[in-house]
């Protein structure tokens, strides 16, 4: 901790040279230590997550029905059957397919929204649109799950589009998760686009570019690392999204690639198994932790990539 309580001593004569050394106050030290402990709690939480997940995962692999190789490569996931199979591939595949559909939906919507807000909308329109997007981000995901199951699948997918999908299907889950992550992508991307210096735009205008050309050829490339950060963060949210897929995508672990059929994601497995009465200590119970650990690692990697990209654009323009 700094020895100079004014914290403003650089440059001019510092407080110590004017007033003499500060009196040490015991209370001040206690407060500083207490505040540090509060901030350190967050590290304790992370350690708690890692230790609890890793610990049970180790006992999961110690179980004789489970092998690490089978877990990673086999194509069957039936932990609650009498002859349980523990191949995580169907769950990972379900997660990737649904997140992929979500990103196909959310990337154009998110970037389009960000470009419109940052480059076209008047300040008044922007002030009206941004809170509405925040409202969308604030709607609980269980509500989107209800919407996907009771409206989107029967009325839009089967009715209007005539796609002949199952009651529970990966497509509805993926599309609605996509809408759900639009605010995430849009807000990070818009921040990055607004941070592009005005002089770059003016340079392009000076060369006779239209607003579209400025947006597409100057602003978007200049904000690319921020836009990427938004997309990666959106992907991380899609991978971790639980309620929509648990309600609307079904609970059938499958290696089929057809999103019109039910599929199960990693999160949906955790939710569905955690809801039931799985006895503590059973292999099914431990499977929650193993799948949770894999999920945590996937989102952790995505988050680290996203933080890295955000840092890059901050460094360039700030």
């Amino acid at each position: 901790m700094a020895t100079n309580p004014l914290g403003a001593g650089e440059g001019g004569p510092n407080a110590e040279s004017v007033f003499g050394p500060p009196r040490r106050r015991f209370g001040e030290r206690v407060i500083a230590v207490a505040l540090f402990c509060a901030a350190a709690t967050s590290v304790v939480i992370t350690v708690g997550i890692v230790v609890s997940l890793a610990g049970e995962t180790l006992t999961f692999f110690a179980d004789e029905a489970v092998t690490v190789g089978g877990f990673l490569t086999e194509g069957q996931w039936t932990p609650l059957f009498s002859d349980p199979q523990f191949g995580i591939r169907p769950l990972v595949q379900g997660t990737l397919i649904i997140s992929g559909i979500a990103l196909i939906v959310a990337i154009p919507l998110g970037i389009g929204t960000a470009a419109f807000l940052s480059e076209y909308a008047s300040p008044r329109l922007r002030n009206a649109l941004k809170p509405t997007l925040e409202l969308l981000a604030g709607v609980p995901t269980v509500v989107f799950g209800y919407f996907a199951l009771t409206y989107f699948t029967p009325t839009v997918l089967n009715g209007i589009l005539g796609l002949d999908v199952a009651v529970f299907n990966g497509l509805a889950g993926g599309i609605i998760v996509g809408v759900l992550i639009v605010p995430t992508i849009a807000s990070v991307a818009e921040d990055a686009m607004s941070a592009v210096p005005q002089s770059l735009r003016e340079g392009a205008y000076g060369l006779g570019a239209s607003r579209r050309q400025v947006t597409v050829r100057v602003v978007v490339p200049a904000a690319l690392s921020g836009i990427t950060a938004g997309i990666v963060l959106g992907a991380s949210r899609a991978v971790g999204e639980t309620m929509v897929v648990l309600i609307a995508a079904g609970q059938v672990p499958t290696t089929s690639f057809d999103p019109r059929n039910p599929m199960e994601t990693m999160t949906a497995f955790i939710g569905a198994t955690g809801k039931g009465d799985v006895p503590t200590g059973s292999t099914g119970y431990k499977a929650i932790f193993a799948v949770g650990f894999a999920l945590f690692l996937m989102t952790l990697i995505l988050n680290m990539i996203s933080i890295r990209f955000v840092r890059r654009y901050r460094q360039v323009y700030e």
Binding site: A2, L6, G7, A8, R25, I31, L35, F36, A38, A39, A40, S42, I45, G48, I49, S52, L53, G112, T113, F116, L117, L129, V139, P140, T141, V142, V143, F144, G145, Y146, F147, T150, Y151, A186, E202, Y205, G208, S210, R211, R212, T215, L233, S236, R237, V239, G240, E241, T242, M243, T267, I270, G271, G274, K275, F289, L295, F296, T299, N303, I307
Partner: protein, 298 residues
């Protein structure tokens, strides 16, 4: 975007060719369409839920307990459960979140590796899926070291962990918005570091902190996945009597009704969604009012 004094580009370069103008207007149309999609989905969602749910809303729906018969079922225990959770979450996140924000903003020396670790760690925690917190809650709060059982306290603590990073991040922004000159003035008059923070910086940042706290609480009460794992029951025919009481909550009740194949229960889910959304809108409106009313321009 052109500066005021400069001649408009059109006067200098002449009118752009028709093909380019067409592409320009097409581009605007596409952007408007892309921006509207999310808003249209939100509107359809609200209208659809309203059509299904509003006819189900009645005083007896709000004051009855869950039941196997849809016409008798209500959400009283879910509402009281949610209120209990809100109380527990606020008790945890306000002191812990504000203290962490003060430390990171006012005390932490960024050249020390442990302070950078705390910072990156909080950014990461903010993006950890909420269901992972549910697993943590199940392993360490419901069972394991804390062994609180499937109680209000366990549910509230788990939800508090989910939103804590958001409280810290918004708290830091609020503290940063208070100009350092205010604190430096106090320091120059002989205040200690803590006196300057406690009496000058903190009061100036309270509207921003309060906004962040309210928004975090509203996020917490919409969370469903962690509560599923922490094992809140979905059929609780009594109100929680204390922190050690079993409980249910609105989003869980919604989830439980949506999972029923019976259409009448799904209508009830729509009605419960409306109640949950009304609570969230009240909280958000309070947060926006706070922000607009007490926000100081320095």
């Amino acid at each position: 975007m052109t500066t005021a004094q400069a001649k408009p580009v059109i006067e200098v370069l002449g009118v752009p060719p028709a093909g380019q103008r067409l592409r320009d207007s097409l581009f605007v149309l596409i952007l408007v369409a892309l921006t509207s999609v999310a808003l249209i989905v939100l509107a359809v969602l609200l209208i659809d839920t309203g059509i299904d749910g509003i006819p189900q809303l009645s005083w007896s729906f709000l004051t009855s307990f869950p039941s196997a018969f849809p016409e008798k079922a209500g959400i009283e225990s879910a509402i009281t459960g949610t209120l209990w959770l809100m109380a527990v979450v606020s008790f945890v996140i306000v002191p812990l979140g504000v203290a962490s924000a003060i430390y990171l903003e006012e005390y932490a020396d960024r050249n020390r590796w442990w302070n950078r670790l705390i910072e990156v760690n909080i950014q990461n925690l903010a993006a950890v899926p909420s269901i992972v917190y549910g697993i943590l809650g199940l392993a360490y709060i419901v069972r394991g070291p804390l062994s609180l059982g499937r109680t209000v306290l366990a549910g509230g603590l788990t939800l508090a962990l989910v939103v804590l990073p958001v409280v810290i991040i918004t708290g830091r922004e609020a503290l940063r918005a208070v100009p350092p000159s205010i604190k430096e003035g106090a320091l120059a008059l002989g205040a200690t570091r803590w006196q300057a923070i406690w009496r000058q910086t903190l009061p100036g940042s309270i509207p921003g902190i309060a906004t962040g706290v309210i928004l975090s609480i509203s996020r917490a009460i919409g969370e469903t996945a962690p509560l599923i794992l922490v094992g809140a029951a979905t059929f609780v025919a009594f109100n929680p009597t204390g922190l050690d009481s079993p409980f249910t909550a609105l989003p869980l009740q919604i989830f439980s009704w949506v999972s029923q194949p019976n259409d009448q229960f799904r209508m009830l889910a729509a009605a419960a969604i409306i109640v949950l959304l009304v609570i969230l809108i009240i909280l958000n409106a309070a947060a926006i009012r706070l922000r607009n009313r007490y926000q100081q321009r320095w």
